[in-house]
Symmetry: none
Subunit: 422 residues, 2 copies
């Protein structure tokens, strides 16, 4: 049994919006053991959407998942076109109409929106193909699971948060369960590495492949945010092959492997920071590290705060970096990064302080200190320290992002008491 994905919206046919729903759905289906044959992106045009559904049916997929086109405006056509595809009439679901009315009643009152416009929008969103199972909205648009003579169609809204929230409910409907019954989910293993290039890993994979037949495994390597992710997927029975591969990688690149259980760097940092109190001094990353550390609920228990010291003056006055240090070594220097870390420690009465200063570009580089040159220093109140000053590749945004990631990895090492070059 294979599946197809249809992403709707004229905006996904342009570079203004990057669709992430198609790949997200495809990956979730893959985890369930369902291969996706095609992802189709289609504009808000009835015949094109109908053609996409027809194509997938002709390809004999057992399941189609659509995202988008469930909003209140006239270009939101998905429910209507899927109803036509299924040969089912669109009818008003009164329970759903009330449910949507409840959801929007609150903010309609508060924001004094036009009640008529809302009622009408509301009714359109409650029109569902007769016989479809309706999935409770995570926003205001309900989802649908629609049986047809061919593939079962799961219809979900476009906003990613709503789609993600409604996905488990969609899978839990009787129709979806029937389609997915008896399919063996893939097993998978994930390794994450930081600090070695992709070509090293490719060489390792070749070498291991010479001794072990890796063909039962589907191995994908992916470089993301300066981290190397190795994803291994297999059907039940290939556990031992997978183990041999993982052991081989760890034997060769052990200290660069920071995750073997699928945990992300951010999750690990959250755990490691428990009981600590951290203060930040950021220049080139300008708040990115603070923002990233505080993505996690409850992070206020260990993030005391930070100073975005974009000017020399801010470095001096809010982080107590001595003027002389800036004059002698420049604002981007290991010395100033260290002083910023010390200033953050003191100012926030923290037990961990981080200083980051660098040249994000595109201007401001020199031969000695090119664009991408970044100085990072992490200090603990107890006197341990870890510091680096690499030249990072990429454009302004990438340099800022990689600086943040590198600082997180160095923080992880300091907290784990590991220290080694690079």
């Amino acid at each position: 049994m294979r599946a197809g994905v249809v992403v709707t919206g004229t905006e996904v046919l342009t570079a203004r919006i990057t669709d992430r729903n198609g790949p997200w759905i495809s990956e979730r289906l893959g985890e369930l053991g369902v291969e996706v044959s095609h992802i189709l992106c289609v504009g808000d045009r009835r015949p094109d959407l109908a053609a996409a559904l027809g194509f997938l049916a002709a390809e004999r997929v057992g399941l189609i998942v659509t995202s988008g086109g469930l909003g209140p405006t006239a270009d939101d056509l998905t429910a209507e076109v899927v109803a036509g595809f299924a040969g089912r009439e669109l009818v008003l679901d009164e329970r759903m109409e009330e449910r949507i009315a409840e959801i929007i009643a609150g903010f309609a009152r508060r924001l004094r929106f036009d009640a008529d416009a809302l009622r009408e929008a509301n009714r359109k969103q409650a029109m569902v193909p007769r016989g479809a199972t309706v999935i409770d909205p995570a926003g205001t648009a309900p989802g649908l699971v629609v049986p047809t003579a061919g593939p079962t169609v799961i219809v979900l809204p476009g906003p990613p948060r709503e789609l993600h929230e409604m996905w488990p409910q969609a899978l839990d409907t009787a129709e979806a369960r029937a389609v997915l019954e008896g399919i063996d989910p893939y097993r998978n293993a994930t390794l994450r590495l930081f600090g070695i290039p992709e070509s090293e890993l490719a060489k390792t994979l070749r070498e291991i492949g010479e001794q072990t037949d890796l063909s039962p495994l589907e191995i994908t390597t992916c470089l993301r945010r300066a981290e190397l992710e190795v994803e291994i997927r297999y059907r039940p029975g290939a556990e031992e092959t997978c183990e041999r591969l993982v052991d081989g990688i760890v034997a060769r690149h052990g200290r660069f492997v920071f995750s073997r259980d699928g945990s992300s760097l951010d999750e690990q940092i959250t755990e490691l920071l428990d009981g600590h109190r951290i203060g930040l001094g950021e220049s080139c990353t300008a708040g990115l590290l603070a923002a990233r550390l505080t993505e996690v609920p409850g992070s206020s228990s260990y993030v005391a705060g930070g100073v975005v010291a974009y000017s020399d003056r801010a470095k001096r006055e809010l982080l107590d970096v001595p003027s002389k240090l800036i004059e002698r070594h420049g604002a981007v220097s290991p010395q100033v990064a260290e002083a910023m870390a010390e200033g953050a420690l003191a100012r926030f009465e923290a037990d961990l302080g981080i200083g980051i200063t660098g040249i994000a570009g595109p201007e401001g580089g020199s031969e000695e200190k090119p664009v991408g040159y970044v100085c990072i220093c992490i200090k603990s109140a107890s006197g341990t320290e870890i510091a680096r000053d690499p030249v990072l590749p990429g454009n302004r945004g990438e340099i800022r992002d990689r600086s943040t990631t590198l600082a997180m990895h160095l923080l992880r090492r300091l907290l784990r008491g590991e220290e080694f070059p690079l």
Copy 2:
């Protein structure tokens, strides 16, 4: 004449790689006046790729553009499948074989690659459908323009840089020119609104549509980062209809329309901040506003810095928020936001100060101050001020992002001397 796009590669069917080629090609074609009916993402499987080409031919597109699948490995199938689709034999292009050999000779020597493996890879990449026009590689893979009984097929490699470099050459071939001849490029207009819900706009579009035939326009509305974008595309001749629509929207929602020329909020803020000096005090957004303002090269000329005051202590000691204010009104209150703005003004010797404090959740809300309650205050050194304390919808990440966007919009209003409710 319409076109279709086919993006190949099993990796584009997962969330680990985000395809940007499909939307990029689609947007370029749109600028030329060619509507794209579908973008299909397909794995490295012969029958699926062939089915995708067949579907687009059946949809009667005049042009198909493919990206990817031109590399040296066994899963690179595009040239072969397109040759089959066109009913043309694959033949070795000797001139191209030499050209590729030249390109790779340099790095092969430098990196001491296996010469046999390279020769073979090299030959595979020089196999082209008989009668196709070959496009010089920007990397090592040549592109193809292949005439068929149906649509003309432009075949380009997957790496974005190579694709972008080879695109003009592909369009300049006799086959592509013949297909594109006589097509009028689209015109377009973009409106961006902030502060009204999509349903209000839907009502407006319906009302205008009752008086003016809007069918010559392709109108898409899209909600992104709490902003509403209206994109209007039309063929030459529909200028007046477009103008009537734009005027109608502006007449009804004038003060919510912040962009009529395609400029983004961030671009406008960058221009408005020229000659100013801004300091930030952030609590719930924790550096996101500082990071966003400094995404722009050169922003160091007007961003002095910020304090991420995640703890009460940081609010007191680094932004001079009086303890009494926090005790009396709570850390999340309009009074504290104002004091944070004042503290940022003073600490950074700025002429603009922003204070943001709120409850991003999921914990920490109360009946009086629920999750999503955010207090924003912007002050200028000359004494003007703009402040809001709405309850924003969404999860933790969305509340933080929307707080940032709202602060940017309020800053825009203050800098433009506009003040009105909401």
